[in-house]
Homo-oligomer: 494 residues x 2
């Protein structure tokens, strides 16, 4: 896209427009998009000194600042480095009705280094593809611009800025590197742009020899895309054929659970004491090796998630872990992609986050209670698999427990809770309603266990009819898998 780029006869479509008119039109169309709840993500990338700042200034001049945030991305700082690479971009993604403008973006790392090894580069590109697709499928309009300038222009600007009292802060090692290795960069950027020119989020390559003309073109094209997106959405409100998502045939992992497993109190106490000290060691080791740990607990109501979590955390230093209870999303959370609130809670390197319920709510409660549309929860299996892949590839130690009891045991526990005043707060109307939907939930559990069971992130099924057995089982699994994870990680590093 950059090679043999036609700077001379580029077809500028908006170069004769009046700048104020375009800005005001954009302001108007942005307000309309806000009313319609459309999230807008505008990526302004390009060569160093290509005029990104200039273009963004123009772009946001007449927009409503209430719904606009401009984000400048460069090297990740200390605290961002504690999270997976995509974390800060998820955090800055626009809510419904809002607009985020990214100066540089999640393309920064992959564009900045022309000597990236093949594997790292492919990793970045895959993550970016996933991010853009997930946001687009959720309704975000992504508009991407790459400001293109010739080597000559870049050199000239860099030299001019360097001797300017104020602009000199704008010139960094990066500018000089790009000027010096122009051909290598052109080759590299060209490859990246081609690889990420997706149908629903294509690149607009804009020559920026004149920043003013480039800016008009960015304004004009942004307006055009937004207008067509708004009309397109109107169109989609009309009745139309439903897109059918077909999922493979699922298994019934829950059918195979052996609920008779048991431990005596004596066996329990003995195992507990032995495992606890080992857990403490594991906790220190994970911390010491700066491994971020995510432990997910899902399960049938009253299966004993709470007790298992409490027992488990007894072995961890309370300063190193957080239990994140997941219930219905707040208004703010609802205004983002449903994954946003889980990304938000990811642990720093060396810390442990325990999710008491999780993103799987999308394919469980949201599916059964019909809070999510069919196409949404069906799409979620893939989305979740992708998200967990990104977690694992970023170095997170991920464990997923599913605690289960049979219907008779659940009834017994509900009844016991009804009669115990101290535990009655644990039982709500909703629990009884969910019980009536036992079969629907069982189907949802089985589908989830079938379709989101992966080598890196397998489901660990724990029969919970006997609490002693379940708690010890959870500790044993954490220990065993934790040690295996550390071992494998050390081996890979050698």
């Amino acid at each position: 896209m950059l090679k043999h780029f036609d700077f001379k006869d580029f077809d500028f479509q908006y170069k004769d427009c009046n700048r104020s008119d375009l800005r005001e039109e954009f302001g108007m169309i942005q307000r309309r998009a806000h009313e319609l709840g459309i999230p807008i993500l505008i990526v302004i990338d390009g060569w160093e000194s290509a005029g990104k700042g200039y273009v963004i200034s123009d772009l946001v001049r007449e927009v409503d600042h209430k719904y606009t945030r401009v984000h400048l991305f460069g090297e990740a700082d200390e605290c961002e480095q504690k999270k997976p690479y995509l974390w800060r971009f998820w955090m800055a993604s626009p809510a419904r009705g809002e607009m985020s403008v990214f100066d540089h973006s999640y393309y920064f790392n992959v564009m900045d280094d022309f000597q990236l090894d093949k594997k790292t580069e492919q990793g970045y590109l895959k993550d970016i593809e996933t991010l853009e697709r997930q946001l687009t499928e959720d309704g975000t309009v992504i508009i991407k611009f790459f400001l293109n300038i010739s080597q000559k222009t870049q050199r000239k600007r860099t030299e001019e800025y360097q001797i300017d009292k104020f602009k000199k802060v704008l010139v960094t090692e990066r500018d000089r590197r790009q000027v010096q290795y122009h051909d290598e960069y052109e080759e590299h950027l060209n490859k990246i742009l081609n690889a990420t020119d997706f149908p629903t989020s294509p690149w607009n390559i804009i020559p920026s020899e004149s920043m003013r003309t480039a800016s008009l073109e960015v304004l004009g094209r942004t307006i055009e895309v937004l207008k067509s997106q708004i009309l397109d959405r109107m169109d989609r409100l009309k009745p139309q054929e439903k897109v059918e998502i077909t999922l493979p045939k699922g298994n019934h992992p829950l059918d195979k659970v052996n609920y008779s497993k048991k431990l005596s109190q004596e066996e329990y106490e003995e195992a507990k004491t032995k495992l606890e000290s080992q857990m403490i060691e594991l906790g220190y080791e994970l911390h010491d090796k700066k491994i971020p740990t995510v432990i997910v607990f899902e399960g049938v109501d009253a299966a004993g998630k709470g007790g298992a979590i409490k027992r488990l955390t007894k072995g961890f230093d309370p300063r190193g872990y957080n239990v994140v209870p997941i219930s219905a999303p707040s208004q703010t959370e609802l205004s983002y992609h449903y994954m946003w609130r889980f990304w938000k809670e990811l642990p720093d390197k060396g810390d442990i986050t325990i999710f008491d319920r999780s993103w799987y709510g999308r394919v469980l409660v949201e599916r059964v209670e019909e809070f999510a549309k069919e196409e949404e929860w069906k799409r979620a299996y893939g989305e979740i698999n992708e998200m967990e892949r990104i977690f694992c590839e970023s170095g997170i130690f991920l464990l997923k427990f599913f605690l289960t009891i049979d219907a008779a045991e659940q009834l017994e526990r509900f009844q016991a809770r009804m009669l115990n005043i101290e535990k009655s707060y644990k039982l709500t109307e909703e629990d009884w309603r969910n019980r009536e939907k036992w079969d629907l939930y069982t189907k949802a559990y089985n589908d989830m266990l079938s379709w989101t069971n992966k080598e890196d992130a397998p489901w660990i099924l724990v029969p919970g009819n006997d609490k002693y057995y379940a708690r010890i089982k959870v500790m044993e699994e954490v220990l065993e898998r934790g040690r295996a994870f550390i071992k494998k990680r050390e081996e890979t590093r050698l």
Copy 2:
């Protein structure tokens, strides 16, 4: 408090209690506090290796993790250093019904360095006093523990941990320093503890030669304090005498505004062009010198805040500023101290945050519309002055603009908006209702302008009947005061 401390005959009140019983009782009382919406802040500080981790583990064992967060504070990391010192503690403060446990705390910096100069130390102590008082007055229960051990015990533990495969990560330079300079530290810590032993947030000095006994004591005392706080709140629900907050006599700054100031379009265009390039320079300079800038806009409805902000930001790089519109707080925001959401939005060093309305809502709309209780808005003048003092002392360049128009001009603008379809979204029912309360608002404005006008953070009154004049005036003031701020800062540094 530490000197001649009686380790031998210390009066432990809970040493014979059953640990599980205490933990469970604490769990129960915490749930009750949650139901009553009481925010709880527990500070666990003390000598290094005194057993803070052990005590916290015990403390949170049986609590509901849904409402509990444990925060470990040490040196501020890179991103925390971009904010005022108290920022991370405000961010970690508990919401209503929640509990935060601080391992170390905002006492970290002042306790950690026994060679602090007098002035810095006094600065820390003043800030801490303000923080604890503001949180307490807002209903937070603060319970502070200092775990005390002898030099001998500290040395022994440090040596033991150092050779332990896992615990060695717990031993830092800080431990060794405390062992080496024990007497100096004792002197220093003693002074800090005495200076911060406030009536509503006193210190509990607990000997921790045996961590187990210390832990029982912390549990027991925490339960005791919470119980009495809960009963105390019940008590306060009974009708009782109102505490009268008396405020000094206010002036009427608005009476003196000269609304006749005007610029011709020609004068406006000329001034605008001249000032704009100077604004760009100022923006770069503030960024270059890593000065965080906060610009507050308040004003009469339709006085032209939006236009003035738009004109002003035209001179700034959009990647360096954020406009934060303040409207009614969200549910989440409501669950914190009302200042929390403003602390949250503070700019990093080198960035600019423009508040379109601000924390002054407390003494304006919340006062007039009676969203805040009388004692709350009356207390707010002092709280705001303290918060702004802390902002300024932390190096923030703070500017406060008040845009005003007279009643006749407002009526004219409202009518114009009614008739202009493009601007009609700017006018709501609420605007008309506010207009009916013109006198009440004027009184609130005058009181605010009188009582929150300080040398470091003065109000800049801008008559807005003529939009040209107002916009230029705002730019001129930002320029002039910005330059003066930079100059003064350089002089102080020499």
